[in-house]
Symmetry: C2
Subunit: 385 residues, 2 copies
């Protein structure tokens, strides 16, 4: 070996063993991981082509199909966080020049616009104030006007707490030869969602919301119409890591090596999806709804107002208006420092105007609602005094 | 809520608790995670903007700078596997029309070619048979001929086991106003590597090789010359998730939300880097070298031949020629089924010709060498008989 330079000791720092504070994560995500998910995460590794891992991949795909209520063969987790699954969906479906119509009524609609533009889409924005949703009539008109190849909507806008009703939109899209692409990051596993019955062509989600798995793996699903568009592409997908023509050969019967799958995150994701299957979708959706209603009643009793009308409110994420004269940031800091509870403020149009409170997956529990309401009451009293 | 469709029970499958077999991962990666890394992985989550997490992010950056021997401010982990860090490096540095000269002497050189092409590079290939490396003279000639904006080389070719000497190349690149981009996936933490002293402008790596952290997080580092090229870009980075102009605002002092960081993988990565700092780079490199030499001697004693000459052999990954008349796949299967040991076969030019044996990070231990040599001997006897 050649003679080596001396070692630079500048960043040879001393650190302490990891000792995270016991946070209750009631913000927009991540939610706390279920203890069984954390256990799975810590299991010894196997290789990404090990027969045992391949068996586990098959299970993940089936459990994911159940959670999403789809029979789509192309249903897989992407090796990144929810934003990677969002980008994978766009990168694979958008070809340069495609008109992509995006419903922009929150932060994640904006992100769809940014991403679709990077893949060469002619992006058309359909806008609504943050917290509102699009009616079928508005969507119909916009589709007829813009003639998009893809309509992208956010089912559960984490930045606003609004739930976009999806029934009927697919028929509209099919009539106009357009794909329906849906962001289900904050709905999968917590809010009623039927990929096949609602005719959604492509959807993506995250792991760290209603599935209560740590962030770092994120699923997507394409039906036949979406897969057809992918396979008819004239150009290579402009993203190697997320190229589904390659990734799906690893997740498909060929098992061709593409990149090393995040083994431990797949362990955790499988366990999170097992918990969904054990509880059953109906029971799980009902639990989310009931605990959200408890929260909403409690907030009202504290004299607080929700930003979204109840019929469109997400059970997984509630936006609460910060009352006149209250410093929203100080309240959040008080909850964190005094009670180890994380909630978040608003983004964009709602910055400084709302708090965002998540009751997602494992965290959607009666005791968490009770604790939060108590802590919030104390914070409001303390900071007004 | 609208009336909902019935739940489709088709994929409501029964699964067993996770129970992975106790594999010893002596292939090209992942290696087994260190037990302390697995413990860190299972720690309770905090939010991605929690003050405690931000402190941990700073520690990760410093520990990474030590491991890489760099003072580059832009030294961060990407929220994906090693291939995502590879793509991030190219996506941010390549502008359409840039000439990118790639040293192709193995599988990962080929991948660099594919990725750079997707970002609009005019890719020029400098080729060598798999297992050989490039001389300074060859590189000089190619740079003078192609006048590239970027020269991309693989320091540790996981597909061949060859170590590309890097000394002197940076001077050549600077003289010709070219950036030196280096793949250090299988060298970081196991093979002598000096980003600053060797003048490497941009590098990336993985977590699951010599750092013994599970796959799912992957670092990169850019020096000032590389960061300058990034900041002088005329077009947006054609990849939202990996856009360092956005990601670096989350890792920088602004802490602007970009995507939800993979919290648990960051916990694990920090612990893996702490282990590097505790052991010290010099001791760690020496351990890898000594155990590799033990392996090479043992292989020779079994009558086996290494594919790469000893002076260029990676201590982290050894390619061993499969002897005439031996079914390489059967040997690997025997090791897995009889001894729970994973090794791998060759790729591309070396498919069917070599085994790949990794001694990486936590797995680079005397007892693992002894066990593998014993098992390999038994496999060869058993399968010849």
């Amino acid at each position: 070996m050649e003679s080596l330079p001396p070692i630079d000791p500048k960043y040879h720092i001393q650190t302490q063993p990891l000792n995270p504070p016991p946070r209750l994560l009631l913000g927009p995500g991540p939610s706390n991981a279920h203890p069984r998910v954390l256990q799975a995460l810590a299991m010894p590794l196997v290789g990404h082509l090990d027969p045992q891992f391949i068996h586990l991949m098959n299970e993940i795909q089936d459990l994911l199909r159940y959670a999403w209520q789809t029979r789509n063969p192309l249903t897989i987790p992407v090796s990144g966080t929810g934003s990677a699954a969002m980008e994978a969906t766009l990168a694979n479906l958008v070809e340069p020049g495609d008109v992509v119509l995006v419903g922009v009524n929150g932060y994640f609609g904006e992100r769809l616009v940014d991403m679709a533009g990077r893949y060469g889409a002619k992006v058309k924005r359909l806008e609504k104030p943050w917290g509102e949703v699009f009616t079928l009539q508005e969507l119909k008109q916009a589709i007829e006007q813009e003639k998009p190849a893809i309509l992208a909507l956010v089912h559960a806008e984490t930045s606003t707490g609004a739930r976009q009703p999806l029934e009927g939109i697919a028929e509209l899209c099919r009539k106009h030869d357009c794909l329906l692409l849906v962001d289900t990051v904050t709905s999968l596993g917590g809010v009623p969602l039927f990929i096949d019955a609602w005719g959604i062509d492509a959807a993506y989600s995250g792991s760290q919301k209603c599935l209560s798995c740590p962030p770092g793996i994120a699923p997507l699903t394409f039906n036949e119409r979406a897969a057809d568009k992918l396979h008819r592409r004239k150009q290579k997908v402009a993203n190697w890591y997320l190229d589904l023509t390659l990734v799906s050969r690893y997740w498909g019967s060929e098992r061709t090596y593409h990149h090393t799958a995040p083994i431990s995150m797949n362990y955790a994701f499988r366990e999170a999806l097992r918990l969904v299957a054990e509880e059953g979708l109906q029971a799980r959706w009902q639990r989310h709804q009931e605990n959200a209603e408890r929260l909403w009643e409690g907030l009202e009793a504290l004299g607080l107002q929700c930003h979204v009308p109840e019929s469109l409110r997400l059970p997984s994420l509630t936006t609460v208006r910060i009352p006149e004269g209250v410093d929203g940031k100080k309240v959040a800091q008080f909850l964190l420092s005094e009670f180890n509870i994380e909630i978040a403020g608003g983004l964009g149009q709602l910055a400084g105007k709302v708090w965002r409170i998540g009751l997602m997956g494992y965290n959607s529990r009666k005791e968490n609602v009770a604790l939060l309401l108590h802590a919030l009451k104390e914070a409001l009293q303390h900071l007004k005094a």
